[in-house]
Symmetry: D2
Subunit: 294 residues, 4 copies
């Protein structure tokens, strides 16, 4: 089918490739003239046949909000917008309402798979009405991995459900990565295990802990067996925070996901104010030596 | 090759099947007369040709200790014992020393794969000397999953390394399971996501969180979509505790693995003494209502 | 000085007593006719001499918002409103702006001390302009505990700082209580310690862990040495959640405060969905027995 | 009464002062000739009248074990040894058995109060037989803070109970310090609160979080309002680790105490191996930028 695709960065560019390979007619728009197929958002819209379907794949937050605001003006009754970015689920309802006022449908799509999705396909979780989802299904079927539809795609619920599911997916991802990371550190600290990369690689088949993330860690250790070229500094991009906030909102205990998030925060602190306070306390009551700042 | 196999429970029985299918000559001993091939441990040893290799697959702790103590008496110079149970790595050195005094070799083998190992093969991590490991390699090659040897088998280090690696494997397993579980609970608590099993199933392919454990959770939800037939009561079998203790021993922060362990402890408390204390405190300072025991 | 006091519940009522004992002229308003000094908010305002100072001590959230909205209409240029409730600090700026439009000043006051404050005085943290704080200082000086002013009162910063400080105070409180509670549970679980209440009481003087909360726990154990009459069910009232959300907002690792919050969530779950998922997983891969729901 | 005191370091020296001020006859032994009253342990013993009481106040572990081993030889039937060091409770039973074989009694005494104990008195938790405790009570009564005996002293149970109680005391201490530290960091990170030391000082009276540890933090901030002269590097001395290990041993969830311990571990890592692994994973799946080691 025909699709307008706004945002041709790392993710959007790859998706266009995969969709075209699947025989869809994709018209992309990006501010970068080297990759865009249209001169402006308005130009893109004008080149699409009604009823139009436009996939938005721009950074979450302001950029997405602005793009959808413009589309609300440019598109017509009967058109459909899909937000495939990592937007917070709470932004979906306002987006849907804005578009709905002009008769435009809305789907929020959580997209997982990273840079590997171009080749492997993307895991998809979408939220919206049954009709809208049905209409975009040819696109979803091409983007998702090969195999049974329900193993790479879910209609998770109404508007917001797709991004909610993607948020939780990423929160879980934080926990999984931290679990492997703690185990890795303990193996590396042990006297017993002398070949840590070999142990992790041996978990690739047959074990309970085998996973795609484990495969990636094995890859990384093959390139750099002691991770000597990296610093233990880890950014976060929002979904982990949102997951914890939603856990709090729903009174759900989430110690593992939260510990993983806090480990990232701590990884970025050259000198922890909290631990200064603990050092100060120990010095006060016990006369314990402190490490003076230089 | 010829192998003596002590312990024909859920794991040992299946391993005998897999080894025999791999053309090994396996003589098993178990106290259960319905499955044993020998009348006693002594009988088993007498039926093996020197130099003998005996795989011990009995419950960790006392049973393993006793079996290895008896084997130290029954076996001869040049024989080899493999402990494939979930023994604590700290017991390997004493076992090896005991056997070594009689010229008997020792390998500790961590075995992962659970009830699925019979079919999929078992992930193996072993500790011991290069010569001993080389000698038992035909057995390891049959037990491990098909595919490249290093994706299902590792010689992790000297005596103790195999069980250390298995311990960490299980610690990671605790963290992974808890990460999925927290995410599952949050999805189930949300208003947005109306089809939780569908979302988890959609993560099976293409996503960052895909794994064998996820596949199992999908299976469980297909059988019981709300897990209504289960109680949230989770046992633990030692490796998680040992992992945390070793993390402490090596000053390795392990918040995720530890949180997963504590969640299991809490799951088994019908009424938490700690939370009684917190309730008592809130009542004392704020006059907050408490829930009276019935 | 003269003060209007809106809300004469557990806290407000006691504060009126303490203020009157301190020779202030307090006119209180409450919907409960048995305790009120005025027939309505309008009546209260009409009975005060300009420039008026009105302390709001009603439940945080809607009730506070509504009361301040009404006061914005009823009061005049030059009057002053103090919100002494447990409002979220993020509500202070909107409140201050609303009042400021009519020339009315605003102070947010965090008040600690619970039911004991009537007798011991209340710890106070306030936010607002120096002029406004100066003007209300006679009230603060009577409410705070005896002793040096800076040991029971702080001008923490501009509008919002008082409630922010109170929020953090309560977050710390969660952590402190949970620390004592975990220690209590471990003492109670030990074979060695046979007189747990005696141990806690012995910490009352001289030790590093002595505190007012400890004194309260000692009190509780004197009344009920095994806390047998309580259930381990603990509510939470918002500040702990907000503290964690602000920690996330500022990328501050807060594992202790968050663990304490999650322990409360878990204390209220008769059967944890997450732990059902873990039980289901263990059953899937290992054939481990599960506890069936009845 | 007469007391032999072995070990005149920071703690032992102060205790001798306090005991002598309380009219006890204290003979101290230390390897440091400037503080010792005897030339050797044997000399000390020879100077004491039977039945003797000897308080051991040397570093936990080897030094304590060796001293008690020597005392088992030097002392006689009817004498009494008190271990007042921070020994692990599991060492008390072996010590008691060793001494008991020669008819010598044993008390384990947990001592809290740090460098302030000389002036304020020491919180005491002791384990042993009623007769032994009764006999040493004059010493305990002088060492403990003034006030009712049960507010600074507890006979916690049989041998081992004193050190068990002290271990838990210190575990709680870890949690309390971390709770204040997290709150401190959040206050310091906020835009709202402009005078963090003032806020903490204002909690000194009347608030729920008032405590001796808070007073010490206030002291530290008066000396260095931003703790600018300290590094956030915190040692640990064993009791926190033991507390977590015992919590695990008794299946007691202890997330707060454990989080505090792990925060100390992390504070000592210039670059976390675990977080390198997480960074490596993010780079693998998402092409996320990593920080290269220099």
């Amino acid at each position: 089918m025909q699709l307008g695709l706004v945002g041709l960065g790392k993710m959007g560019f790859n998706m266009r490739e995969r969709l075209r390979a699947g025989q869809h007619e994709v018209l992309g728009y990006d501010r970068n003239p080297e990759v865009t197929d249209a001169e402006s958002l308005a130009d893109l819209v004008s080149k699409l046949d009604a009823p139009r379907t436009v996939w938005v794949m721009v950074p979450a937050g302001e950029a997405t909000k602005q793009t959808i605001g413009e589309l609300a003006e440019l598109l017509d009754n009967g058109d459909l917008v899909i937000d495939g970015g990592n937007s917070r689920f709470s932004e979906d309802k306002p987006n849907a309402d804005l578009l709905s006022a002009n008769g435009i449908g809305y789907i929020d799509a959580g997209v997982s798979g990273g840079v590997w999705g171009a080749e492997n396909g993307y895991g998809l979780m979408v939220g919206g009405s049954a009709d809208d989802v049905e209409r975009a299904m040819p696109i979803f079927d091409t983007l998702r991995p090969e195999g049974p539809r329900d193993e790479g795609f879910a209609h998770a619920g109404g508007v917001g459900a797709g991004h909610f599911a993607k948020m939780v997916h990423n929160g879980i991802e934080y926990g999984l990565m931290q679990a492997y990371a703690e185990g890795y550190e303990l193996l590396a600290a042990s006297d017993e295990v002398t070949d840590v990369p070999a142990v992790l690689k041996a978990w690739s088949r047959g074990t309970v802990v085998r996973s795609w993330l484990l495969d990636l860690l094995v890859n990384a250790l093959e390139e750099d067996p002691e991770l000597a070229e990296l610093r233990g500094y880890v950014d976060d991009s929002g979904e982990g925070r949102w997951t914890v906030e939603e856990a709090i909102n729903h009174s759900v205990p989430a110690p593992v996901i939260t510990s993983a998030l806090f480990a990232r925060f701590a990884s970025r602190q050259p000198d922890s104010p909290a631990m200064k306070a603990v050092a100060a306390l120990r010095n006060q009551f016990g006369g314990h030596a402190v490490h003076r700042a230089e």
